[in-house]
């Protein structure tokens, strides 16, 4: 009788422990840094950044730039990123410029637990 009880409790413990643990770290604070190339220092950005989740096609947009960086809370995953707007920068000769720009990437991994970082190259439009 005693061994039956022990067996029962052991089996129940094994099955309960075998239950699925949820992966519930859903969101990541994603930081995308714009890179203007060698010698270019981006000072201010006024632009819209669109993050399209590749799995769900859900789009998150933000204009919350701090210097050359934009930060947004996203579902962890793979994204298409499009940033378009105007920036002011100091070039290699020390000249301050204000120009339109675009940065596009078909695939950016923003899947880190807690935080994720990515860098995107910009292209000046005019």
């Amino acid at each position: 009788m005693r061994w039956l009880l022990i067996l029962l409790v052991s089996c129940m413990a094994v099955t309960v422990c075998g239950c699925h643990q949820d992966n519930d770290e859903y969101m990541t604070v994603a930081t995308v840094r714009l890179d203007g190339g060698e010698g270019v220092r981006i000072e201010r950005v006024q632009a819209m950044a669109h993050f399209t989740n590749l799995n769900s096609r859900h789009v998150t947009s933000t204009a919350n730039f701090d210097g050359a960086e934009v930060q947004v809370v996203l579902l962890r995953g793979a994204y298409q990123v499009l940033v378009e707007g105007i920036l002011s920068y100091v070039d290699a000769d020390g000249k301050r410029m204000v120009r339109s720009f675009r940065a596009v990437s078909d695939y950016v991994e923003l899947a880190g637990i807690g935080t994720s970082q990515a860098k995107m190259d910009i292209i000046l439009l005019d």
Binding site: L8, C11, V16, H20, D24, G77, A78, A111
Partner: protein, 498 residues
């Protein structure tokens, strides 16, 4: 003269005993009272004393169901499933039994939408689907066989179940699913102090291949890889229409039954299963994994005294589904790495209640009442669909040998499920019209209240000189919902019993 009188009286007593045994065996097999112990028969060790006598049945049957509007779009508006079946329970020796079952059915389901796989109830929400749908053909083969034996205080047994099934459509979208489902259960029980304590373990392997084809060039629409509550895995929806399910699982159960007529009952069961959906076209890339955990508890007391049967059972069932989406990275060749897993889908289903049994003479009565709730949630963007219902049900059965060669089993059931709560949260602004209609349709029937009435009769005819008996059964079930729609069902079966 005295010898003749003795012979006649002896014959009458013998006939009475045989008739009484037959009555008992019949009642033993078909009585509502079996509901107090049937739950334990999942443990094959308990089959050693499941029935008093050997019994084999062969027959044909047909299940028909029609809904005036689909209560759930994925299930369609109804089905007609004719089939042939055989089941047997044979006592080999005083202490060992074998039993088995075989079934072949071939029929049709009507107007299924948003479901292009077989076994939707097992695999949802991770199915492939389209909004067109249509009728499907279903062909099912089922076999099971078991053996159990008793040695002293111990009983042991095992049972193997095999199910093969295909479901297909003969016009676009041409879905085709082929299922293999194998379960092996082993159990042991011991008699201790007037009770039988049993432990059983079951292992399950599941496979399904599912694909959808379009033969007409005009119909080259895509299939959706559904991920729950109207969402889909957009990246791999469309032209990826060949999928494969790999499943496995196990269940443990503990049972306590009184050896005699009176005592306490306990049934505990816990099972876990997982089903991975793989994409054939990308080197068996895993898209989603569904984890299902089912726990059940039944406890109560039953007793027979002075020809009256009484029992009170309480039950609690918890069924949880959690679904992981495997987030794919960028392709290298045809291979996609998995970046991370996110448990995006949850469903919690709870059923708690109590059943009271009462039986006297030819009559049995069961009263059941309880609470049922289902909560579904998709994590991001948040979607929810919940409901809670209170239910009550009364079942009455009249079981009698009306003539020496004829037994009748008449059963009637009526009940009501009343909604007490419901809630829906959907990002309607970002949903397409079709997806919105799909969700709203299902929600309309989830939040409804239902009344149901079932009536059935079974007649067993077996003259004393016949080596086999005949049986016929017909039952009808009706369900009415507060949305003004209804469901009608008929089950008919005829066959031989020996």
């Amino acid at each position: 003269m005295r010898r003749l009188l003795f012979f006649v009286v002896s014959c009458m007593v013998m006939l009475q005993v045989v008739a009484s045994e037959r009555d008992s065996a019949y009642v033993d097999r078909y009585s509502l009272w079996r509901g107090t112990t049937d739950v334990a028969l999942g443990n094959p060790a308990f089959m050693t004393r499941a029935y008093m006598k050997s019994d084999t049945q062969l027959g044909v049957r047909c299940d028909y169901r029609h809904q005036s509007d689909a209560f759930r779009l994925e299930d369609g508006t109804g089905m007609a499933l004719p089939g042939i079946f055989a089941n047997t329970y044979i006592r080999l020796t005083k202490s060992s039994v074998v039993w088995g079952e075989a079934l072949y059915s071939n029929g049709k389901h009507w107007d299924r939408e948003y479901n292009s796989v077989a076994d939707f109830d097992l695999l949802y929400p991770y199915v492939i689907a389209d909004s067109v749908g249509g009728d499907t053909h279903r062909e099912r083969y089922f076999f099971s066989g078991g053996y159990a034996a008793e040695r002293g205080r111990w009983q042991m047994g095992g049972v193997l179940k095999l199910r093969a099934e295909q479901e297909y459509r003969t016009y676009d979208p041409r879905m085709r699913s082929v299922v293999y489902d194998v379960s092996l259960t082993a159990g042991a029980a011991v008699t201790v102090g007037g009770y039988r304590l049993g432990l059983s373990a079951e292992g399950n392997i599941y496979r399904q291949t599912a694909d959808v084809d379009f033969y007409s060039e005009m119909n080259g629409m895509g299939e959706l890889q559904m991920t729950g509550l109207g969402t889909d895995y957009v990246r791999f929806s469309g032209s990826n229409r060949d999928i494969f399910y790999k499943g496995k699982g196990g269940t443990l159960a503990f049972d306590m039954l009184p050896s005699g007529d009176k005592g306490w009952l306990l049934h505990l069961r816990h099972g876990i299963n997982e089903y991975v959906r793989l994409l054939d076209e990308y080197n068996s890339m895993p898209l989603t994994t569904l984890y299902r955990q089912r726990s059940a508890l039944t406890a109560g007391w039953k007793g027979v005294a002075r020809g009256t049967e009484r029992a009170l059972l309480v039950h609690a069932v918890y069924d949880r589904r959690a679904g992981d989406e495997h987030v794919a990275g960028t392709a290298s060749g045809q291979e996609y790495p998995v970046l991370t897993d996110l448990t995006m889908y949850h469903e919690h289903r709870i059923d708690v209640g109590a059943t009271a049994f009462y039986g006297r003479g030819d009559w049995h009565l069961a009263l059941k009442a309880g609470y049922l709730s289902k909560r579904e949630r998709y994590e991001y963007v948040e979607r929810r669909m919940d409901y809670g219902r209170l239910y009550g049900e009364v079942t009455a059965q009249w079981l009698k040998r009306v003539r020496k060669d004829l037994c009748l089993n008449v059963c009637g059931k009526g009940g009501y499920q009343g909604k007490i709560s419901d809630r829906i949260v959907m990002p309607y602004a970002n949903m397409t019209l079709g997806r919105r209609d799909y969700i709203n349709h299902n929600y309309r029937y989830q939040r409804a209240s239902y009344a149901h009435v079932d009536v059935g009769i079974r007649a067993d005819f077996r003259p004393a000189k016949w080596r086999v008996g005949l049986f016929g059964q017909v039952a009808t079930a009706w369900k009415f919902c507060t949305e003004g729609e209804h469901e009608a069902g008929v089950r008919a079966a005829v066959g031989v019993v020996f």
